[in-house]
């Protein structure tokens, strides 16, 4: 197993490097640089040159890249151009917000969706099954930010039950922190529930048709035991892949949800840093997101044998 992990991590390094080059180049090709954005319409040539030089932008792109790589390898991700904060602590802080929401939502969605999917598969083609499938497909089709807006309007503005903006860290005030997280988590859970439920149902249906299930039933096992001990184990694998895919992609795509709910997460940080041309922060974000993506994929693959003993790493 260790060899497997090492091999995968090893393969990830060239990907990381490649992405870092792509990001570095891409952001610098976008017209407008941080100095210009900071000085706005009052920028005269001299002030611009002065500011660019202080930001280290007067070197060639290649030189800038090498300087950056060197500092990354020594653990220093640099400082934000906009706020002069250190990038690494900033990233970790923002990431904890996004991660909380994503993990809780996906966990909740999985915990609810898998039993629901199992149940629907068991009662395949009944009215209940059709209803559940219809519901899941409907939820699947609603854009997350629209749902978020509607929920915000209903519960935040019209009913006033939950706050509509801001964020309180868990450390400061756990109870209040939860109220800020309820709406985004609920939105995300609803949105991901559909896909996971459908996948769980479909893969369970596939498994339920197989011989060994009939065999287990013939042995006299109760339906519950059949479902739980035999069907779930094998049906879970594709669902698990889906969960992994969702997790990996959500971190990049959560920016829109964070905008709707004004959460200080890593998605919005990334988008804001593009608009502000905050190169160090953006580069740091990219590294982080890519690392997470690789790690998530790795974890997903590592946990497979738990569900399907036939799979060897």
């Amino acid at each position: 197993m260790f060899r497997f992990i090492l091999h995968r991590l090893g393969m990830a390094v060239p990907t990381l490097l490649l992405i870092s080059v792509m990001v570095f180049a891409l952001i610098r090709f976008i017209p407008g640089d941080p100095a210009l954005l900071m000085l706005g319409d009052m920028a005269d040539a001299q002030s611009l040159a002065q500011m660019r030089s202080s930001l280290g932008l007067d070197h060639s792109v290649v030189t800038q890249y090498l300087i950056w790589i060197k500092s990354v390898l020594s653990g220093d991700l640099g400082f934000s151009i906009s706020t002069r904060q250190a990038v690494l602590p900033l990233l970790l802080e923002r990431f904890s917000v996004s991660a909380t929401i994503v993990l809780v939502a996906v966990a909740l969605a999985t915990l609810i969706a898998v039993p629901v999917g199992l149940f629907a598969a068991w009662k395949q083609n009944s009215a209940m099954d059709l209803g559940l499938v219809a519901g899941a497909t409907l939820l699947l089709s609603i854009p997350s930010f629209w749902l978020g807006l509607l929920l915000l309007y209903a519960f935040g503005i019209k009913l006033g039950w939950l706050p509509v903006v801001g964020y309180v860290t868990f450390a400061d005030d756990p109870l209040k922190a939860i109220t800020y997280l309820v709406l985004p988590i609920v939105t995300l859970t609803l949105v991901e529930f559909g896909a996971i439920a459908r996948m769980a149902r479909a893969s369970t249906i596939e498994v339920l048709r197989l011989d060994y299930i009939a065999h287990a039933r013939a042995k006299g096992l109760s339906e519950g035991a059949v479902l739980w001990r035999h069907a779930l184990r094998n049906a879970f694998a594709p669902t698990w892949t889906l969960v992994g895919l969702i997790l990996g992609n959500l971190l990049g795509g959560i920016a829109v949800l964070e905008t709707v709910f004004t959460l200080p997460g890593v998605g919005r940080l990334m988008v804001d840093s593009i608009f502000a041309r905050d190169y160090p922060v953006l580069q740091g974000c990219l590294l982080l997101i890519t690392c997470i993506y690789v790690l998530v994929n790795l974890c997903v693959d590592l946990l497979y044998p738990l569900f399907d003993p036939r799979v060897k790493l």
């Binding site: 976008i30 017209p31 407008g32 640089d33 210009l36 954005l37 900071m38 706005g40 319409d41 009052m42 920028a43 005269d44 040539a45 001299q46 002030s47 611009l48 002065q50 500011m51 202080s54 906009s82 706020t83 002069r84 904060q85 900033l90 802080e93 923002r94 915000l152 935040g156 503005i157 006033g160 706050p163 509509v164 903006v165 801001g166 964020y167 905008t259 709707v260 709910f261 004004t262 200080p264 804001d272 608009f275 502000a276 041309r277």
Partner: protein
Amino acid sequence: MHHYVKKALYFGVPTLSLCLAALTLQAGEPSLIKVGFNGDIRSTEPGVNRDENSDAFIMHIVEGLVAYREDASVGPMLAKDVTISDDGLTYTFTLREGVKFQNGKPLTAEDVKWTWQHYLDPKTQWRCLPEFDGRGVSKILDISVPEPLKVVFRIDKPNGVLLATMSRPDCGGSGIVHPDSVAADGTWIAPIGTGPFTLGQWKQGQYVELNRFKDYTPRAEAKPDGFTGNKQAFVDRVRFVVIPDAASAKAALLSGGVDVLPDVTAMDEAELKNVPGMQVRTSPVMTLGGLLFQTRDPLLGDVRIRRAVALSLDYSQMVATLSNGLSTVNNSIIPTTSAYYDATAHTGYPYDLDEARRLLKAAGYHGQPIKLIVNKRYPQMFDMGVLSQAMLQAVGVNIVLETLEWGAQLERYQSGNFQMMAFSYSPRFDAALSYESVTGNKDKEPRKVWDNPKALVLLREAQSESVAPKRQALFDQLHTLMLADVPMVMIYNGTSIGVVKAGIEGYRSWPISKPRLWGVSLAATSK
């Protein structure tokens, strides 16, 4: 028995009530006002690594020698008075007595000199250094301290905008700070100013706070007057909450997450003024919004085409839509709230479609597309472009909208690489500074839209001249010249629309547009 009971009551009741009173006073929470900011501040150093929110913030902590009054004229702040020599080269500032820094130390002329030398040091990277080191109108030759409370500045050329430039919020108001604000090795620690608030907690990306400076020494006036006057603070704590998204900010105001929003859009104002418990405070400000032309463009180089565009826009309808009825039309670079906005500045372009068509025909325009750059980040610019396109269709001008991201548009503005652009200038608080932002030599500064040598001469004169009527005459000439040249079409000045919750008293919007939380209090009934 009775005797003791009587004695107990006699002493007990007042003592008990005093205790209760003391307890309630202690139990009373320090008052807090929450203000919505559309971005985090950049740093706490006045005029260094700053943006608009940082400027608004720092002006609560530091004060300069002079500052802008409510009507955008310049008045003394830390100075008791200012005398200018006859040749205009020596400025003598007499400081007020008894002013204390936030670390308890008294304000002296030496501190003023130290601060200014810190600002003028290139290593500090003070934003306004170019205005005072010779690259601008004049250069500060030296700063001397003849008496403990007198500071003398000597400059090399007469400068009519020196005091106005010193007062600029983006220079941090040239706020005087105590030398302990800076560490021994020159790095910035925290601002120790003389203002009504001190720096509180800063949770980066979320909020930044101000605490009331209990030993603040206010000026003698009865009320605040812009950035000067009596700036006594009435609230214990102010929290600037970072809400970058305008729609979320509005939602926060409605649900109690913030108490004050200093700057909402005209559309939001229309909705919020009808909400019970909300008060709207508006004021015209000095931002300039209009359409820029590139006079060196092969097509737009013909003044007839530019003039035709200027004549084809229904300004009153456009401004009514863009500002929801809160602004008025202004075809002059001089903002309507400026003291120099006179009858001449009030003249503009008539709405004359026939004349426009005649001009286009004479210029030989036959429908070639003209690209107008807009961006989505600033809705006013975007809407201005959409409206202009629609209106210009009536005379057959084919406008193609090009939506760029703001950073990209700034780059094109900076390099002059555009045909037309919907743009908004950040406010300049003196008419000469307003003209300076659009006038210049395109070979050296491609971003300047107006390249007329005669205009440049007039501008230089206006910058050196200190006498008001003479300046007015110069501005009149500049405006008439600009109307003829049409290097750009100025459309309107913005409005600062602040919305506060009921219970907040004393908050006012003003032409300089920066929010001010001194003089503002929470009524007893609200939390």
